[in-house]
Amino acid sequence: MIGTLSLTAIPAKDEALRAPVRAFLDEAQADVPPEVRIRSWMGFDADFSRALAERSWIGLTLPPEYGGGGRSAFARFVVAEELLAAGAPVSAHWIADRQSGPLIVKYGTDAQKEFYLPRICRAEAFFCIGMSEPNAGSDLASVRTRAVRTATGWLLNGSKLWTTNAHRSHFMIALVRTSGTPDDRHKGLSQVIVDLSLPGVTARPIRDIAGDAHFSEVVFDDVELAEDALIGEEGAGWAQVTAELALERSGPERLYSSMVLLDTWLSFLRSRGEGDSRSTALLGKLVANLSVLRAMSLAVAEQLSRGQSPAVEAALVKDLGTAFEQVLPTAIADALGANPNQAVPDSLLRALAYVTQVAPSFSLRGGTREILRGMIARGLELGR
């Protein structure tokens, strides 16, 4: 069975990070309209990421000897939730901070740590995650991109798809086949770090439903990788990816994708003065749900801070969190439309439309709803 989640308070020393982050954001985000802020972790701004790095807010959980903060999962939780709630453009450094950095800490050689980690902490190395392929989505073990050993390292061929930020990142940590065939499933998979500036790498951005281009198709055509491109153990790629996904699924980003919309709607309700009871009850429902989700996410952070890998708990909180994020825009749209002749600010409508359009991705990225529920079922030992 899955362990219970216990109500946890953020330790005071981590909570202390909040005030300076907020003060910084109040200034940096003062004039940014809601429809820009709502893009938050799709908002790519290298200068903003470097400004955060200058204040030591990137790589908080990474070891101090490599430029990190040496802090707990709670410290990252505080900074992450403030950034997301404010709708800050965090996309550039987000993946490296959340999972690539910790993955390198866990599986990297000393040389790899010395090379990558300080660059991540300085926001000079942005990462993307090469998992999905044209014919490997939820069925990740069927990846066909292959790295073959050569005299000097590896020769990489294949392609990755739906890779967030591939066209504007420096490195990709890719799940590739290093031996066997797709029929061997989880065996023969490894992770390699690909320098995306190498010859033979082509990243083609794909425009999305909201008019943005945040993800890409990446083609590898005889890309020559050095020996030390391999991260972790050859053949252990599946286990490494599973641990990485636990990090990807457990953070507060699974609750706050729609926060800017909620705040924008709240100020609209207040500006109207006397509220209608339908909207008031919906507001209360969203806040009740969010309060509980935040407490559940903190309980997962607490497990991470004790060095555990709460993969099933993280899947459970993620599925519930993304369901909340998806309900939010449709419910707010209904509440606004319940009074069809009122004037609604265009900026609210633009933020609403953006979330509505990208909301399907919430339960796709980081593992689909169906895959997560399958993980929960296995965690419950169903059909054992």
């Binding site: 219970t4 309700l269 009740a288 509980v292 399958g374 079922a377 419950l380 059909g383």
Partner: protein, 337 residues
């Protein structure tokens, strides 16, 4: 300390073979011996200060006891009595023996003083009522008790035609409705955990098409949704009970009851869907818990009632955005790390 109490009450319930007790009491059997045993074990005074003869626990410490009241479908008002006794002692009132219910509302009408649909009324001797700025403890013996006659329900409406003599009113600022809602939120979370465990077990035992139904993805997906709701309900109840005194913070209690009540519908529906026809029989225990889930969902306010309160509270709050509101007013107390 709280774990010792929880272990002790779980042991007491286990010895009592609760499902049979629940059926007997719902059928009109006496609850007296069960109540006497609970009272003699000291649980009713868990929230009463030690210097007044109680265990001196806070609401957060008795969370396990409250869950157990729900997960065993306890057919006597231990949770309301625990709270009522602490309130009475704090107000310097004398505390009678016997089980105490709490009434969400009292209405003065031409017939007298009426308390509609009081939870556990059929198995209580007293009811704690708020009357304007004061609270009072009324004897159920002096009232006309009209059971709802909903199958198996212990709920009844009370009417005192004459204002009972000798009952003292005492001033209280406690939000009795929110406090009682919080207790029922914890009982809901406990009952949902029971229903969930039964559902997982059943899915692993019941075989169709040559394999346990828990192997089918369609069933797995439903039970995973149920798991999410049950975990959320438990966390919501923890938020409500996260208090260093005998009473909860009203806003946290609102979140607790709103979210646990919201979880009732999917949790009960999936439990029954997975169990099939056996789940709606008298003989199988599932109904003891799912009937209570639906009853307690609306007791002291359903999710709509509390969502409205939470929404009003946020609209009135001075914080500009949602996160500071829920961090400062709803999240865990910083001294409970």
């Amino acid at each position: 300390m709280d774990d010792l109490f929880t272990d002790a009450i779980e042991k007491l319930f286990a010895q009592r073979s609760m499902p049979q007790q629940v059926r007997a009491i719902e059928d009109g059997g006496s609850a007296q011996s069960l109540w006497r045993e609970i009272q003699e074990s000291g649980f009713a005074d868990a929230l009463v200060p030690e210097n007044q003869g109680g265990a001196g626990l806070a609401l957060a410490d008795v969370f396990g006891i409250l869950l157990a009241c729900g997960s065993h479908a306890l057919p006597v008002p231990l949770a309301p009595t625990m709270l009522a006794r602490a309130i009475l002692v704090q107000a310097g009132q004398s505390v009678p023996e016997g089980p105490i219910s709490i009434a969400g509302a009292a209405v003065e009408s031409k017939r007298g003083l009426e308390c509609p649909q009081v939870a556990f009324a059929r198995v209580s001797e007293w009811v704690l009522v708020r009357l304007g700025e004061t609270c009072t403890l009324l004897a159920i013996d002096d009232a006309t008790l009209t059971p709802t006659e909903v199958h198996g329900s212990l709920v009844g409406s009370l009417c005192w035609t004459l204002r009972p003599t000798g009952t003292a009113c005492f001033a209280s600022t406690l939000d009795l409705q929110a406090a009682a809602a919080c207790l029922f939120a914890a009982q809901l979370a406990g009952a949902m955990e029971r229903v969930f465990a039964m559902t997982v077990d059943y899915a692993n035992e019941r075989t169709q098409f040559g394999r346990p139904i828990g192997k089918f993805q369609a069933v797995q997906q439903q039970i995973s949704v149920m798991a999410e709701q049950v975990f959320a309900a438990r966390m919501a109840a923890q938020i409500g009970c996260d208090s260093g005194t005998h009473a909860p913070d009203p806003l946290r209690a609102a979140v607790a009851k709103a979210r646990t009540s919201e979880a009732v519908v999917p949790v009960a529906a999936i439990a029954h869907a997975v169990h099939g026809a056996i789940g709606i029989t008298e003989e199988y225990d599932l109904q003891l818990y799912t009937r209570r889930l639906y009853e307690w969902r609306t007791a002291f306010g359903s999710e709509s009632y509390w969502n409205q309160k939470i929404g009003e509270s946020l609209l009135r709050d001075r914080t500009e955005t949602v996160l500071p509101f829920l961090r400062e007013r709803v999240s865990a107390r910083s001294d409970t790390a």
